[in-house]
Symmetry: C2
Subunit: 261 residues, 2 copies
DNA sequence: CGAGGCATTGATCTCAGTCAACCAGCGTGG
DNA sequence: CCACGCTGGTTGACTGAGATCAATGCCTCG
């Protein structure tokens, strides 16, 4: 087996030790944006302290959620925009047959619930995957604040545009026909999002189950599993449980000719 | 063949006659929002004339595009938000292997190019599918206008949220595993969007090629074709070329247990 | 009227879904 | 403390849906 690269005891140990501890930001105690550890991610880059000050008036609430706990539910009245401070969440929609369909995954620094704005009602259900801290931003108050501070006014548009950009690249991802392509694109998307947060793009924990990955990608659990083993045999990744190390990022990209920007 | 329902000469004729002519809005000659025929679609419902007035200051430009013509390209600097006034467009991304991947379809009343806001550069290419009229909204000027008119201020957020809602439902659509499910969901999505415009939800023209449908849905052209024939044999649809009539909307929905809201 | 693009259909083969067994980790409770 | 059962993950054998290859038909446009 020339190409085969099984995870050594050592690498496995690395995976387990690093994944959750080293990359997750330290818990935040303060609810104000100035001191929030995901601030730079959460808010579009070039905001000065000047711009941030009005946001202090929002008096944000940060809540903790345990894995599986619902953050907001489909049908709830839209009152807050939710910013993930730490941990990870999923948003889902219920299908007619009762099974849930994953609509997206959200890491620290991501927003959730923006879809509620248009109709005044949420159209998805958000659930914590990890122990997660989520910042509740009261929308009405945000509107009031941004109205009077011109510099902070583009904030929402910026944030929403980012969401649209990401959704777009996910739509392209899901337009791929073959399971390995989709899964590779999915891993690369996660990798890139980790990089954007200053975390390692090559080694991280998958906060979601195989079933959830499959639901999102439109492929079955077994195929997710098999394809991951395939990637491992090809030497693209090493893994241990939910920990993943991308050992050959370019190879992975090249093998499935993707370009998720 | 008990269930078989081939398109009669008569129904075919209906399809051809109605599809493009009856449903498309009449061409707009005026560039101001007050008199634009897609105004109610383009702008969130409850805007009064009062609210609309400031928008006149935008002095919008409407441009015509012929089928295949590029409206904006991946990499272009973000200057405009594009509102489709008539016709239909697609947005695409180029994959590494050079083939293009369809990221979305846009009907009259839809916006395009919102993804450019975040980075200041467009991340997709927009192309006309029909003869299309597109309204170019200069973003900087829009920001200036909305800054001084509080009622018009939520406009952007509203519009972007709608985009996010729709993207979300498309993500769910693409998370479906089987080709007939996806195609059914796709048709129902189109149907619903037609209904939202006051057009017939049961009879319309597909402005895109089978290949483009396939690219978007992640299935091959042949499968698109075969699945459409399947739908026809089951009595769910009738079709002639790019014209479609949904003869059994509930049946289509029920058979593939979807609930695209 | 002919050419070329688009759509449909058929035959074959491959990949992913299905069904089922098995394993590892974990919390519960004896 | 270990036995137990449960959930989540992996693997195998088989089947079926969809991709591929190829041919034909249809419509549009020059």
């Amino acid at each position: 087996m020339p190409k085969l690269l099984p995870p050594t005891k050592h690498s496995v140990h690395l995976l387990r030790g690093q994944a959750p501890a080293a990359h997750a930001p330290a818990p935040c105690t303060n609810s104000h944006c100035e001191s929030c550890c995901v601030g730079a991610l959460c808010l579009p880059g070039a905001l000065s302290d000047e711009d941030l000050r009005p946001l202090a008036a929002l008096s944000l609430v940060t809540r903790r959620f345990v894995p599986g706990e619902t953050i907001y539910a489909d049908g709830d009245r839209f009152r807050f925009i939710y910013a993930v401070r730490s941990g990870a969440c999923k948003t889902t929609m219920l299908r007619a047959d009762g099974r849930e369909q994953v609509a997206g995954f959200h890491l620290a620094g991501d927003f959730m619930g923006l879809e509620g704005l248009a109709e005044g009602v949420h159209g998805t259900t958000a659930t914590a995957l990890d122990d997660a801290q989520v910042c509740l931003i009261p929308y009405q108050r945000l509107v009031a604040v941004t109205a009077s501070y011109p510099n902070a006014k583009d904030l929402m548009a910026h944030v929403m545009s980012q969401e649209i950009v990401h959704d777009g690249s996910l739509l392209v991802l899901l337009g791929l026909t073959e399971a390995p392509q989709r899964l590779a694109a999915f891993l690369l998307d996660l990798s890139q999002r980790h990089a954007a947060r200053g975390w390692s793009p090559r080694e991280f924990r998958l906060p979601m189950s195989r079933a959830e990955i499959g639901s999102f990608l439109g492929i079955k659990v077994e195929t997710v599993s098999r394809t991951l083993t395939l990637f491992e045999r090809r030497g693209f990744i090493a893994r241990r449980g939910r920990g993943v190390r991308i050992t050959d990022l370019d190879g992975l990209r090249a093998a499935y000719d993707l370009r998720i920007r």
